[in-house]
C-alpha cells in the first residue's frame, strides 16, 4: 500500500505492542492508546470540514453573524430599559458572554448528538454497536462542528468586554470562580445535549421538540434569571440548571445579592449543577439505550 500522503502518523500506531490494550507502559501511553480511536475519527472530521475551504468560511461567517445578531438583540433590549432583573447592560454582557461561550463550546463537541434519529434510521447506530467503544463516546466523537468556533468567539468577546467594563474585585478566588464557571457551564450544556439525545430514542420524529428544549435552555441561560416566574425558576433554575451556567456565576463575580430564590452565592455551586445535569443526562441516555435494545420491554 502506498505511503499515506499526510506526514502525520496514523492514529493508533503510537505503540508497537500487540493488538490488545497496552502492557507495561505508563498511564500516559495507555491514555493515548485509549484515545486513539476517538482522535482518529475526530481528526478526519476536522480535516474534512477544513478541506472545503469556501464552505467552511461561509459556515464560520454565518455562525458569527447569528452570534452578533443575538448580542445586538440584548443591546436593543437594554437600550430601552436601564435595568432588567436588577442588572444593567454591562452586567448582562457578562451573563451573555458566559452563556454563549459555554454553549458554543458544548455545541462544538456535543451538538451533533441531535442527529441521533438520523443515525438510528441509517443504521449508523447499529454500526457503533459493532465497535469496541462505549456507545455514547462514539456518538459524541462521531463529529464536531468547527464552525461553532465563530460563535464561541462572539461569546468570548462579550465575556471579556463584560469583565473589563464591570467592576470585578479581582482575586485568586474570582479567577478560580471564573474558570470553574466556564468548565461547569460547558459540562452543563453538554449534559443538556445528551439528555435530549436520550429522549430522542423515544421521539424519533421529535427532534424539533428536543431542539426547542436545548435552544430554549440556551436562551434561558443568557437572561437575567431574576425576571423569571416561579415555575421557570424551578425548571430552568434547578431542574435543568441553566441559571448556574451564566447568571449565578456572574452575580457571584460581581458580588451582587441576587433574589430570594436565586441568591448570588449559588454561583459558587456551578460544579454541583453540572454534576446534577450529568446525572440527569446519564439517566436519560441509559433509559433511551435500554428502550432501543428492547431490554425494558
Amino acid at each position: 500500500m502506498a505511503e499515506p500522503t499526510r506526514a502525520r502518523p496514523a492514529p493508533g500506531t503510537a505503540s508497537g505492542s500487540a493488538a490488545p490494550a497496552g502492557t507495561r507502559r505508563g498511564p500516559l501511553a495507555r491514555g493515548r492508546r485509549a484515545a486513539a480511536p476517538y482522535l482518529a475519527v475526530l481528526g478526519s472530521r476536522a480535516r474534512s470540514q477544513r478541506s472545503y475551504r469556501v464552505g467552511f468560511g461561509v459556515d464560520l461567517a454565518s455562525s458569527l453573524l447569528v452570534g452578533v445578531v443575538e448580542l445586538a438583540e440584548v443591546w436593543v433590549l437594554f437600550h430601552n430599559v436601564d435595568r432588567l432583573g436588577g442588572i444593567d447592560f454591562a452586567q448582562v454582557l457578562l451573563v451573555f458572554g458566559l452563556a454563549d461561550l459555554c454553549f458554543s463550546l458544548a455545541d462544538l463537541a456535543f451538538g451533533h448528538c441531535d442527529t441521533l434519529p438520523t443515525y438510528v434510521r441509517a443504521g449508523t447506530l447499529d454500526v457503533f454497536y459493532l465497535r469496541p467503544q462505549p456507545l455514547l463516546l462514539q456518538l459524541v466523537t462521531s463529529d464536531l462542528s468547527l464552525r461553532r468556533l465563530a460563535r464561541a468567539a462572539v461569546g468570548l468577546a462579550a465575556l471579556v468586554a463584560g469583565l473589563v467594563v464591570n467592576d470585578v474585585a479581582w482575586s485568586p478566588a474570582t479567577v478560580a470562580l471564573l474558570l470553574v464557571a466556564v468548565a461547569s457551564g460547558i459540562a452543563t450544556f453538554a449534559a443538556l445535549f445528551v439528555t435530549a439525545a436520550g429522549l430522542q430514542f423515544f421521539l424519533l420524529d421529535g427532534a424539533e421538540l428536543t431542539n426547542a428544549f436545548v435552544y430554549g435552555g440556551r436562551y434561558a441561560a443568557s437572561q437575567p434569571a431574576s425576571v423569571w416566574s416561579r415555575p421557570l425558576v424551578v425548571v430552568f433554575g434547578f431542574f435543568f440548571p441553566m441559571a448556574f451556567t451564566a447568571y449565578l456565576p456572574a452575580l457571584a463575580l460581581l458580588d451582587l445579592p441576587g433574589s430570594d430564590w436565586l441568591p448570588g452565592w449559588l454561583g459558587w455551586c456551578a460544579p454541583l449543577a453540572a454534576v446534577w445535569a450529568w446525572a440527569l443526562a446519564t439517566l436519560s441516555w441509559r433509559t433511551g439505550v435500554r428502550h432501543y435494545r428492547g431490554g425494558g420491554g
Binding site: P37, V127, L130
Partner: protein, 329 residues
Amino acid sequence: MSGPTTPGGPGETGPVIETHGLTREFTVRDGLRRRRVRAVDDLTVTVGAGEAVGWIGANGAGKSTTIKMLTGILVPTSGTVRTCGLRPVEDRRRLARRVGVVFGQRSQLWWDLPVRESFRILAAIHSLDAAAERARTEELVERLEMGDVLGTPVRQLSLGQRMRAEVAAALLHSPALVVLDEPTIGLDVLSKQRLREFLVAERRAHGTTLLLTTHDMGDVERLCDRVLLVDRGALVFDGDLAGLSRTVGAERVLVVDLAGATPDLTGLPDVRHLGSEGGGLRQRLSFDPDTTTAARVLAAVSDHAEVLDLSIEEPDVEDVVRRVYAARR
C-alpha cells in the same frame, strides 16, 4: 499468513454461535391496538468454528433480528445466546473485537473520506498496531482487488466497489466470525463472483466462520456447507444444500434457443420438458442437478437440434423457501 490459525485468539475451542430457545418479540401498533409479534421463535442452533452457514428465509423471517441478538445490539425477550463464547449484550465491547458484520444496507465507511482513510480509522478503532494494520490492509486490498480505488472517496465508488470496501472494513480486525447480511444484493455477476471467491479464500486462509443471509442461491451454493432455513422466526431446516434440494426438489431450468423449429423435446433422460415458444425455437427443460448435469442435458438436446444459445435458470432462494413453506402449510 498461512499455517494453522486459531480464530478469535487463544483458548477458544467451543462453538462460535450457540443459542437456546432464543426468542424475540416486538410490540407493533396496529391502529390503536398494540399487539406482540414474535420475530424470532424458540431458536436453538449451534455453529462450530470454521463453518460456513447460509441463513435463508423470506423477508421478515427474523434473520436481521437474530443477527442483532448475536452481536449484542438487541436484547432477547427470552432464551440464551453465546457468540464466540461471550454474552453479546453484557460483553458487547469484547465481542466487537471478534466479530465483523457486513450489512448490505448500512455503511461503516465514512462517505466523504478516501477508502484508505476509512481503513486507517477502523484500524485505530480496533487498536491494530502498525505492523498488523499494514499487513492486513495489504492482504485485503490485494485479495479484493481494490488497489486502484484506495484514494477514491467512498461516495464516488460503484456499488460493487463499495461492497468490497465494506467487506474489507468489516474484516480488517481479522474477526473469528464474519456475519454478512445480503452481501451480494444488487451486485453484477462479476462483482458477485469476486466477492464469493474472496470469502472462500479468506475462510481457507484464516479458518473464519461465516454466517450469511441471502436471497441468492448462488451465494449458498458457492459459499456455504450448511443451510439454515427459517420460517416466521422458527428454524425449519438445518442441513446441507443437497439435503435442502432433496426436500424441495430444487430443479434447474435449461433454456435453449435452437437453430430451427423443433418438436417438443419430451423424451430426454432425466429431463422434464416445461414448455416451448416460437414453434419450438426456444424450449425450457428442467433437470435435477443431483441426477444429471447441464452438460449431459445439453448433449442430449444437441442430438436433436443445433443449439444457438442457452441459459440456465437457478432456483432462487425465494423459490426454494416458497416450496418449503408451502409444504409446511
